[in-house]
Amino acid sequence: MKKVLSLVLVALLALATLAIPAMAEGETFRIGTYFGITGGNSAYGIECRNAVRLAVDYVNQNGGFNGQKVELVEYDTQCSAEEAVKVATKLITEDKVDAAIGSMNSGEVLAAAPYFNEAGIYHFGCGTAASWMKEDWPYVFRAAMNNAFAVPIAANLMVDLGYKTIAIFNGQEEAALATANIFEETFKGMGIEVVARESYDAGDTDYSAQITKMMSANPDCILISVIGETGGPLVRQLRQNGYTGIILNKESFMDSQIEIAGAEASNYIAFANPYVTYKSVDDCDIPYMKEFLQRYLDAYGQMVKTDSAYRGWDTVMVMWEASKIAGSNESNALVEATHKVVIEGLGGTLDYTSGNREGYNTFNSFILVNGKNVLFKTWLEEGGYEAYLAETGNAK
């Protein structure tokens, strides 16, 4: 009996630590965040979290949300959808947050967003997959790019170049696979033939067999639709296995990836994206972006390496604008006000008036040449393509 009692005691003690009374709802506006800070893709989560902190500091210095100071409640999802669900429940029921910003990994957003939607909490996701916005959750918004929107823009580059065949290489994660599928559809509609389609799983390191297979199909161009850090090693292996053609990427080829692939290998990667990354602040000539880059550099001592930082900043700015329009911090008011938001984001205009709860509806295409992202149009006009042919010795 004593043993039983002692066991019960242990359990009660355990619960005491759990059942800490929910924190009092105070004078602050509480934004819950769930990012993957540890685990597979955490580099993106960390940059995004950093940018959100920066943005919140900025907002607080400039009056907060209708006078309320913003307070962040941060959790790590360990890049796991299961954890994301646990964290979402915690944010909703225990921390009782007023709004939430979600992960870079669309899988996590897909799992956690319905909880916020059900609870009627104003929520932004930072992943770029089309999937979770298809679910029609009225409380769920995005201030990042939707990969599906980039597809027609990027596919058009093929037409501009007069290319007829393409090989597709994709990852299996939601964002990569779904985007590759949309690409394939679009290409078919445009009369471009997909001559090879290869894939890899998360955790794979060696892609040479797939590359060999794609190259033996002899395509005009190769499309890569991968997520996270795979891009760098992939491009490196593509080039080292002898592929010299243009690479079409589903999104911008970021600075972290260029480092791994090497500057030379990263030449001639074309993509459509609202924004790009920069090697140094001075490389950037967009004033608003430059200001942000400097702010980030000052705060964290390093340059932004992935575009996830941009997504974090934009998200907070859109929320802030919505609060100004609504004049209230109540969730429903914020949701309604967001549909009226039109502001300048880091990648151009964020316009929510079309009612699809997406900010970036159109954007530019770029090509990476000698470590610099050049507007694709400019590059074509200035004879870049001819220079490329001459340099690589490729025909056509």
């Binding site: 540890t38 060696d206 040479s208 297979k213 033996s216 090693p233 490196r236 030379e264």
Partner: protein, 291 residues
Amino acid sequence: MFLRLLISGLVLGGIYSLIALGYSLIYKASGLMSFVQGDVMTLGAYLGLTFYRILGLPFVVSLILTVLCAFAFGMLLEKGVIRVLLNKNVLPIYVVLATIAISYIIQNGVQLGWGSITQYFPSVFSKSSVKVLSVSVQPEALLCVGASLVCMVLLHFFMTRTRFGTAMRAAAMDPTAAYSCGINVSMSTGITWGLSAGLAAIAGMLIGPMYGVYALLGSMIGSKGFSGAVIGGYGNMYGAMVGGILLGLAEVFVTGYISSTYKNLIAYILLITFLFLKPTGLFNERAIQDD
């Protein structure tokens, strides 16, 4: 396409071999299974890039330093954790779990130490690709094949021609008898763990320039390495080499001629098939007891 696949298969196989060799050595010396080899490889890649890129040392010097560090790590692991557990006479599952705990520590530790973004490992060669029989390949790939061959040959000579290697083999075969012959058995198992870690670290340094360096670099290669070791005959040094290379070839040719969907499946299918149908492996190593 065949030639290109063959080369890819050899590169991949060389890496698997180095990992599988580590498994086999450890099993031979101590009858244990380590789940940490893949992550030691990751650690090796991080150490290598620290010496080579961050400190700017020459590649060969970095390689030697990395191997020494990894060797020390392996020894420490055996002395500080494995030996302690064995002295407590625990079930072998605790040793397995301890190595898994260490692999968590490495995976998370390197992220804390080097940041979670993929690290760039600069090319060892100035040319980004070379032509072999009209096929362009990464020069690192050739280095990889060459270096793993050299490692295997060196290990063979070390084990068969040196006093030390003979002592180690004796200690592995019959610890009690070896002990009574004056061989320091505890030292020799320690060295075996160190050697295995060293081999994994070499593998890490070889693939770093090709794949980039990140925390989970070694986790999949580590678990596929088991497959190589079992194919060859778990505990057999030569079996591990051959098994690893066969695994690499199988994986690449399946991807090339069937579908990349089955790329990761093939290693585990081979692993389970061999365990069930031919547990002694190609080299008929009798390590796996029948019950």
